[in-house]
Amino acid sequence: MNQMNLAFDLYHLWEVCGGQMILIVAGLFLILVDMMLLHKDVEVRGKWLGWLTVFIFAATIGHMACREWELHDIVFMNIFSADKFSIFVAIIMACSGMLVALMSIGYLRNNRLMNGEYYILLVFAVAGAIGLVQSVDLLMMFLTLEVMSLAIYGLAAFLKDSPFSQEGALKYFLLGSFGSALFLFGVALIYGFTGTLNITEVAQAISNGTYQSLPLLTAFALIIAGLFFKMAIVPFHMWTPDVYEGAPSVVTGFMATAVKAAAFGIFMKVLFVTFTPILATNGQPDFASTVNLSALNPYWKPVIWWGALLSMFFGNLLAVSQTNIKRMLAYSSIAHAGYMAVGIIAANGEGRTGVLFYLFAYTLMNIGAFGVVYIIDGVERKAQELDDYRGIGYRYPTLAFLLSLFLVAMAGLPPTAGFIAKFYVFSAAIKEGYFLLAALGVLTSVIGAYYYLRVIYMMYMKEEIREVVRGAVAAPTVVALVITALGVLYLGMLPEKLASIANLAQQSLAMIF
């Protein structure tokens, strides 16, 4: 083989980034199919593309879970790593993609918008997201972040006839570019100090004591800010409600879960690999210098403390006065970001496990909720006001029950996944002595319970004031809803399995070196 021609080992790439490769290749394939498939009926074409996308995601999940999960040689070219943590998050995002794809088939049909670009963008968005969490290279992070973001800008703006969708997308775009610029500034600085972009090498480079030098802190702050934007942590959350409200419902579900998972995943990865490295508990810790392991704790911990608290507080508080259910769920997603941040602040294994579990659980319940929302909507923005939900409980009992289940899960009540997830993150924080944060956090979740319950009482306890006709329920959506509902209940009652996997995953963060 000529080394010049082939700068890397393709097989190794396939091993490490198989999921991404499947998605990218499949994305290209989808473009082809979209152009070639000359079926007259747009609907049929859309449906086929949709199912194809679902299949692609299923294949991706299967591949990642079966092969990449058990890898030993996990880092490829110092750019991508297939550590269990990244793969876990990647699987969450692929699941989110699959569920969203399932729902999109029905959603797009209801909205008479069967363009294939949707699925292409969805696939690339997930590919970008997976690339993001897999990358251990800051430049690659930026690039994949942009791949994901651009795809999502496109998805958010997908309702071309809706000014809301376009406006949301534009806001997202403008602020997103701003956020990316901040992130990039930080990345550039890191590059400047260390001469490298690989996060493990960065960690090694700064382990000699430059931890607390001002420029590095500045770079750290800028990276935090850039990622907080994607995580929607207060005060970088302002775009969330507008974009979530404007974007197509299923896309909102996707944004609230996959994008959030990607952001949290990469944040934790950067934090716990570069800035506050954790040591391998088994295996061999390559990273020898343990002196400064927690030198940055006093910097980022208060930041996340406040960020988590403010997110929980403002997210829940502002959700109270919302009348649009999507906007309400958007605020609630801010609050959930806050809860997850509580898990990060604990900075212990339980906390990271908790965050991973939370991401998974949140994916299930949030996508499920948006699925119900879009069905009740019929056509986007037709019935999104809370008043439209009056009496739904008797008009559409199953839908209402499902929505109640998801909302109850989000409110964090047993026996749902939401409760266990909250339990995990809060118990991790309490373990580290963050009683006050935990107490304030649970109090804000009381506010949260109020607005979730409000939807439930609208559905079950109020007389309807106008006749809401739900949209058609497509079979794939039913599948997705069943999966999410069962998942929410299953994880609520038997969380141990997923939690132990997540625990394995978070432990692998120490193994990236």
């Binding site: 990218i24 750019i79 363009n115 963008l121 590919a127 496109g154 400047g192 100090f193 001002l214």
Partner: protein, 165 residues
């Protein structure tokens, strides 16, 4: 004193200020163009000829032209578009925050020259061939991904721009 740097630095800052203060979008674009050119000059100074060329060709030549094109497309002459926020305090707040950010960044990055490794440049540093070499060795994956990035942008842009199917 490095007059070359000083000249283009002042030019870049001045043009930048012009860009963000001028009333209409078109002159603003021209201001940005000036910034780009000034930066390109600095790139040359920093042994990055290829970047400088790309700066002029891609940025000024492609991106900015695209922007100008859209400006022409979107702004009909009869539409009087206020350029800046009417509310002075709003503008002042933005400016103050921005200045504050600049100050903080400068303070925060004080002493960066001790951190950044300072090596003497090897022979032929910044030659395009080196870049090409890196592109296809170390940065091949980035390259691939950026192609995906452009593809995604393309798909999104085409979808949004095309007439409804």
């Amino acid at each position: 004193m490095d007059y070359y740097f000083l000249l283009f630095a002042i030019m870049a800052v001045g043009a930048g200020i012009f860009t963000i203060t001028v009333k209409d979008a078109l002159p603003s674009a021209l201001g940005l163009l000036t910034v780009f050119i000034a930066l390109a000059a600095l790139y040359l100074h920093l042994h990055a000829p290829l970047i400088a060329i790309f700066q002029v060709s891609i940025y000024a030549g492609a991106i900015l032209v695209l922007v100008v094109f859209v400006i022409m497309l979107l702004i009909t002459p009869d539409e009087a578009l206020e350029t800046a926020q009417k509310n002075i305090s709003y503008r002042a707040m933005g400016a103050i925050l921005g200045v504050y950010l600049i100050a903080l960044l400068i303070i925060g990055l004080k002493g960066i020259n001790q951190l950044v490794a300072q090596k003497s440049l090897p022979e032929g540093f910044g030659k395009p061939s080196q870049i090409g070499d890196l592109f296809f060795r170390k940065y091949i994956l980035h390259f691939e991904i950026s192609s995906v990035l452009l593809l995604v942008a393309l798909v999104a842009a085409i979808y949004l721009a095309k007439k409804r199917a």
